[in-house]
């Protein structure tokens, strides 16, 4: 499904070049559950941004479902993010002025899904994450774990091929973290491809496979 080959991502900082990713080669099959581990600054967030088409590699190739994503136009990358990629962030990034339902509807709003269908699919997605009774609550009325579950519902509502989670438990207490991880496990069990960035070994251990990054390189694979 996804193949990264000889991928480099280089930033120019002042006069010197900083390599956030060095020669990364990685394959992710459909239905995989991959954890990307490593200390902060090791390049795992950069990897996630490239996988999510938010960032472009400096060199190397990235194929998504057989398409070379490094070469396609911004419009096509936007389309890909809209339909094929779901994001979950450490700080949830819910819009505080919208209800849980409104937040889950957001990706469909920009995809041009009709109002009635948006509502139906948002309610379904919130039911799937166990928040049927919190549909009309705003983020400030929800706990951290509930917020992250809303964010997960939002990430999967477009039925993307790939779900990317950047430290999804990094801002949660232990109980809420377990809840969120069980949710991600269950989604993967239903066939959802999940790539997870974390530096929590316990979280990483739940994934079926894992890579460890250091200084922009993959130094260990499991």
């Amino acid at each position: 499904m996804i193949a990264l080959r000889d991928l480099w991502r280089t930033y120019h900082v002042g006069d010197s070049d900083v390599h956030a990713m060095r020669d990364v080669t990685l394959e992710i099959a459909k239905g995989d559950y991959l954890a990307v581990m490593g200390p902060s600054g090791s390049g795992k967030s950069t990897l996630l941004n490239i996988l999510g088409c938010l960032d472009r590699p400096t060199s190397g190739s990235y194929t998504f479902n057989g398409r070379d994503v490094g070469e396609i136009s911004d419009t096509d990358r936007t389309k890909l993010r809209q339909t094929e990629i779901g994001f979950v962030f450490q700080f949830f990034h819910l819009l505080p002025r919208l209800t849980a339902q409104g937040n889950v509807e957001l990706p469909m709003l920009f995809a041009g899904v009709a109002r009635a269908e948006r509502r139906r699919r948002a309610l379904d997605a919130l039911e799937a994450v166990g928040l049927t009774d919190r549909v009309h609550h705003r983020p400030d009325q929800l706990s951290g774990g509930q917020c992250q579950r809303v964010a997960i519902a939002r990430a999967v509502v477009m039925e993307p091929g790939l779900l990317l989670a950047d430290e999804p438990t990094g801002n949660l207490d232990r109980a809420a973290a377990v809840e969120v991880m069980e949710l991600l496990d269950a989604m993967n069990a239903d066939g959802q491809t999940v790539v997870l960035v974390t530096h929590d070994p316990e979280v990483g251990a739940r994934a079926r496979s894992a890579v460890r990054m250091d200084d922009g390189e993959i130094v260990e694979r499991r």
Partner: protein, 399 residues
């Protein structure tokens, strides 16, 4: 993304920052209210003047001595003849198109009765002025009919003059002094207000011959000529000019039709109204810059939101549309509020000055709404472009 959904999204975002929204709405509202109120006043002035002159009757000619056209070199030195009472008689009697005519001779003199004195404009005229100017007599009657060369000693008072000099007492039959001359009051006008540049309540009428003697004038100030309602204005005008040209052996009078006066004033005051609108629009530009400022702050404050929307698959165009819509909604709402405020100001103004026909012209309402929307879109473009081109990776960093 449909327009309705864009607007709903924009309204949601604006409601999240109430104080800021209220302030920028107020900025636009002040600008629009100024446009509305000032154009209403300008339009009121225009209507007032046009009404005033239209009430003269559109079948009126005004003859004045002297030619106000530039016609190159004048033969025979270009002497301007006086406009005499004989000219008036000729115009009134020898032109079949003329229904009736009244002469006007003017001056200013002190009117005395008992211990009171008052300086008043004096109009020398004839009985015909009543019909020509549609005057209403409150008490007694107007100047006696007859030969305009007869210099009688009758006087008719404007209502204000009568009140000032006589109070509640009836002035009819009393003798007043106008300068060195003695007059007997034969009538008082009904309240009339201003017309033709005179305050009809604050002047007096005497026979035309008498007034020319008092003021030692040889020429009339004006001759007012009334044509039949269905008469041919241009033909009447030609006839008057021809007759006077023949009498003076040169074309040395000017004949103004009511239409010409009204049209000229109408267009002058129309331009004035536009100028007022333009001045008021300056404040709209200021409001526009305010909106730009607010939107720029919103863009940097909502970096995360913009990054998120991009990550969720919102295109550059959609982000652009979201922020421009937000600015347009802001300014259009301000426009509506300003429209209400301006309208309320005009209503209040009319309460205080009921005679002034202040009214906001429809074009000003439409233009100010369109203008407020355009201001929002125009000043929203820069912040929206900044939002649309934000790098999502950087925008999403941090909390």
């Amino acid at each position: 993304m449909a327009l309705g959904e864009l607007i709903a999204f924009a309204v949601g975002a604006l409601r999240g920052h109430r104080l800021r929204t209220v302030l920028s709405v107020a900025g636009v509202a002040v600008g629009i209210a100024a446009v509305i109120a000032l154009t209403a006043l300008g339009e009121g002035a225009r209507r007032y003047v046009v009404q005033e002159f239209s009430s003269l009757g559109s079948n009126l000619l005004i003859v004045l001595p002297g030619k106000v056209e530039t016609t190159g070199m004048m033969p025979f030195g270009g002497t301007v003849h006086d406009l005499t009472i004989d000219d008036y008689k000729a115009v009134a009697n020898r032109i079949p198109e003329v229904l009736r005519a009244a002469p006007l001779a003017t001056g200013e003199e002190t009117l005395r009765f008992g211990g009171k004195a008052r300086s008043v404009p004096v109009i020398g005229t004839t009985r015909e002025l009543v019909e020509v100017r549609r005057l209403r007599i409150g008490a007694g009657q107007f100047l006696p009919p007859g030969d305009p060369d007869r210099g009688g000693a009758e006087i008719v008072l404007g209502v204000k003059v009568a009140q000032e000099l006589f109070g509640a007492e009836s002035p009819l039959g009393r003798v007043v002094r106008l300068g060195e001359w003695r007059f007997r009051v034969v009538g008082v006008l009904e309240p009339r207000g201003r017309s033709l540049g005179f305050d009809f309540d604050d002047l007096v009428f005497v026979p035309v011959r008498t007034s020319m003697r008092i003021f030692n004038r040889s020429t009339l100030f004006r001759i007012l000529v009334e044509l039949p309602e269905d008469g041919d204005l241009e033909a009447g005008k030609e006839a008057v000019i021809d007759l006077l040209a023949e009498r003076h052996r040169a074309e040395d009078v000017t004949v103004i039709t009511q239409d010409a006066v009204v049209n000229t004033l109408d267009s002058i005051l129309g331009v004035l109204t536009l100028a007022l609108a333009a001045i008021a629009s300056v404040s709209l530009t200021v409001a526009g810059v305010g909106i730009m400022n607010v939107m720029l702050v919103a863009v940097s404050e909502r970096r995360h939101e913009i990054g998120l929307l991009k990550a969720l698959g919102a295109s550059t165009t959609q982000i652009l549309a979201v922020f421009i819509t937000e600015a347009a909604v802001l300014s259009t709402f301000g426009g509506l509020v300003g429209l209400g405020a301006g309208w309320a100001a005009i209503v209040a103004f009319v309460q205080v000055y009921p005679t002034f026909p202040a009214a906001t012209p429809v074009w000003a309402v439409v233009a100010s709404l369109v203008m407020s929307m355009v201001v929002g879109i125009f000043f929203g473009v820069v912040p929206a472009r900044r939002a649309a081109h934000l790098d999502p990776v950087e925008a999403l960093v941090g909390r």
